[in-house]
């Protein structure tokens, strides 16, 4: 009697496990960094991939978009998202290289794999053992390379000489600091170009505009500006346009928002480095799903790097380029 009971229970367990595996819909959560077109576009890409894989395979759950950039805005929403208790995998853009380590580690310890997208923890090298090397992967732009490309592009526009200014945003965020490092590195190749200043706007566009306006006043012979993300770039553009210096001061920008694309078309911005947020979102869902479906055995590359696209006035209207414009 007892033995038969055990047999029946084993059979039920095996069946249940079989059904469980076959019918499992994985819940993949996305926690964005800030409410802006870059992350809206990333969500769109992630949604498209989830739909492609099938609603019975993946359910994408998107956290609350923080209104400002920083751990104080992001962490409560992240905790609220994870308190649901039914998340199988999380991909998120940590808003600080340091402050998000204990938060994400807590969920990793509970058995939830983490992918960092667009920004990373620590120095982003998850291959060597450290207190921040637990994420499955970093999926995002090679920001340093992008910074070098911007420096080179500005140099071409300026004939390799002149004073340039860098409008940055959050100094504790990996992505934008890599852009600054790349930009500085790139400028080294042009000894007649001089970086006259760097300011940080903390993702507040009005601050960026005021900082660039001040830089224009301090340096009447300023030849170029680089705005490193949505807010810095839009602020830099607004300052140069308001000063009536469009075309005189070259404006290199990063992140292809509709605002910047329009500005490029009318000649107020000179080029835009567009990341591929939709592809990042899509890659996160794709790798995340395949990892979960493999029973967490699949080896995921520690770094996945989608490329970028440089908009200039020559290609901004080409049909091919339109896919790289960010949209909600």
């Amino acid at each position: 009697m007892k033995r038969r009971m055990i047999l029946v229970m084993c059979a039920v367990l095996v069946l249940a496990a079989g059904f469980g595996l076959a019918a499992k819909t994985y819940k993949i959560a996305f926690m964005p960094g800030i409410a802006d077109p870059f992350y809206f576009t990333m969500e769109k890409g992630a949604k498209a991939m989830a739909a492609k894989l099938g609603a019975d395979k993946v359910e994408l759950i998107v956290g609350q978009y923080p209104a400002t950039w920083g751990p104080d805005a992001q962490v409560p929403f992240l905790d609220a998202l994870m308190a649901r208790g039914d998340i199988d995998l999380l991909f998120t853009a940590p808003t600080s290289t340091q402050a998000l380590i204990p938060v994400l580690k807590k969920y990793f310890d509970k058995g939830i794999p983490i992918i960092t997208v667009d920004t990373y923890l620590g120095d982003g090298d998850y291959t060597k053992t450290s207190d921040y090397s637990f994420p499955l992967s970093y999926i995002g732009t090679d920001n340093k390379l992008g910074g070098e490309v911007v420096a080179a592009q500005l140099a071409v526009l300026l004939g390799g000489k002149g004073k340039v200014f860098l409008e940055n945003t959050n100094p504790d965020t990996s992505s934008v600091m890599d852009r600054e490092r790349g930009f500085r590195q790139g400028l080294l190749g042009f000894p007649q170009m001089e970086l006259v200043g760097v300011e940080y706007c903390l993702d507040v566009q009005e601050t960026a505009q005021a900082q660039v306006a001040a830089a224009l006043q301090r340096n009447p012979d300023l030849a170029g500006v680089f705005g490193v993300n949505v807010f810095s770039a839009q602020g830099a553009h607004a300052a140069v346009a308001a000063a009536g210096l469009s075309g005189v001061v070259k404006v290199g920008t990063w992140d292809a928002t509709a605002t910047l694309i329009e500005a490029l078309k009318v000649g107020e911005v000179d080029f835009i480095l567009a990341q591929k947020p939709a592809e990042m979102g899509s890659l996160c869902v794709d790798w995340g799903y395949r990892y979960l479906a493999s029973g967490k055995t699949l080896s995921v590359p520690k770094k996945v790097v989608p490329g970028f696209f440089v908009f200039t006035r020559d290609n901004v209207n080409s049909p091919d380029a339109q896919q790289y414009i960010y949209s909600k």
Binding site: A80, I101, P102, Y200
Partner: protein
């Protein structure tokens, strides 16, 4: 109205905030995903830390008939001081424990000064509280930006995170129970079943909330606070040193703001000048919906606690439903106006008829 029904009605309405909180929890539990859980409860507690601390300090000030607007940027100011000292000492080669302790102590000490100045301006120089503390609001922000040189302070000692995100108790049912020290070397299965109870920051906040709740409700200091808010002239005639008392009250408020600043640093592992500025309004709202009157003389720490929970539950509940936060702003605005209307038109509903 039937007098018996009326007395029941009044008794129920007097607790409308508590009923509203219960309604919130019920609604989000039914509509949301796994909202009614230990994790969510603790998340609400720890997320409310800053608003709660600001609101408890603010309760004292509002009961005296004043208001302290400086507390918002005081969080940023003391947070920046705290973080800066930690980073500087760490760079100078002291131990992490030393750097962290010194940062916290310095923030709490420095935080008393703006409170003293606020109190002095209000009590001795008769500057309206609104203006005095609004001025301090700007000064605290400016000083914070100067100290942190306009950028958030980062690269704090690595022990800060584990403190700010730690818990008092770790419980693995049937296997182990630990206090304060997070167990290491657990298998991944054990880790998933580890139950963490009471976030450190909530414990810290609750200790101070309880102590000062007691002071307000049960001590002479508390009675004097109510007396000043009820009728300042009468309080003076009754022999209360009103000026001295007001200075102390504003120092209590700024002390709580400094505690909030320290909690900010421990949880977010950074010092930012604008930290907390968004929480001033929430703090005042928590105090008012907790039953305090902006005209002074009424209010309690327990009411303020419920008020802070109402706000945080609302924000995190909406997040659980994945609804945008701006609904929370509308809801908070409505609740605030409702609370003031109740206070205005039927004070007997909110406060005991004595």
């Amino acid at each position: 109205m039937n007098p018996r029904f009326r007395s029941v009605f009044i008794r129920v309405m007097r607790r409308w905030v508590l009923i509203f909180l219960g309604f919130e929890v019920l609604a989000f539990s039914l509509l949301g995903t796994n909202f009614f859980s230990l994790d969510t409860l603790q998340n609400i507690l720890v997320s409310s830390t800053i608003v709660l601390l600001l609101a408890v300090g603010e309760t004292f000030v509002i009961i005296t008939g004043g208001i302290d607007l400086s507390v918002g940027f005081m969080v940023g100011f003391t947070g920046v001081v705290c973080a800066k000292i930690m980073v500087t000492l760490q760079a100078a080669g002291t131990t992490q424990a030393m750097a962290i302790a010194a940062g916290i102590a310095a923030a709490l000490l420095v935080g008393l000064l703006p409170g003293f100045i606020n109190g002095f301006l209000v009590a001795h120089l008769k500057v309206p509280p609104f203006i005095a503390t609004f001025g301090m609001y700007g000064i605290a922000y400016g000083c914070a930006e100067i100290i942190c040189n306009n950028v958030p302070i980062h690269d704090l000692p690595s022990a800060v995170g584990p403190i700010g995100h730690g818990f008092l108790f770790f419980w693995l049912p049937g296997k182990m129970f630990r206090v304060f020290v997070e167990p290491t070397g657990l298998s991944s299965v054990d880790f998933q079943h580890l139950i963490t109870i009471i976030p450190n920051l909530s414990a810290l906040a609750l200790v101070f909330v309880l102590v000062f709740g007691f002071i307000l409700a049960k001590t002479r200091f508390g009675r004097h606070t109510y007396a000043i808010g009820g009728n300042i002239d009468a309080a003076e005639r009754a022999g209360i040193d009103v000026k001295r008392h007001l200075v102390k009250v504003y120092m209590i408020s700024s002390f709580f703001a400094s505690l909030a600043g320290v909690c900010y640093v421990l949880r977010y592992i950074t010092g930012r000048a604008p930290a907390g500025s968004a929480q001033v309004l929430d703090a005042v709202v928590a105090v008012v919906i907790g039953g305090a009157s902006l005209y002074g003389g009424k209010g309690s720490v327990s009411g303020t606690f419920v008020g802070a929970m109402v706000l945080t539950t609302l924000v995190l509940g909406l997040a659980n439903l994945a609804l945008p936060t701006y609904y929370a702003y509308i809801a908070v605005g409505c609740i605030l106006i409702f609370a003031v209307l109740i206070d205005q038109f039927s004070p007997e509903l909110v406060h005991k008829e004595d």
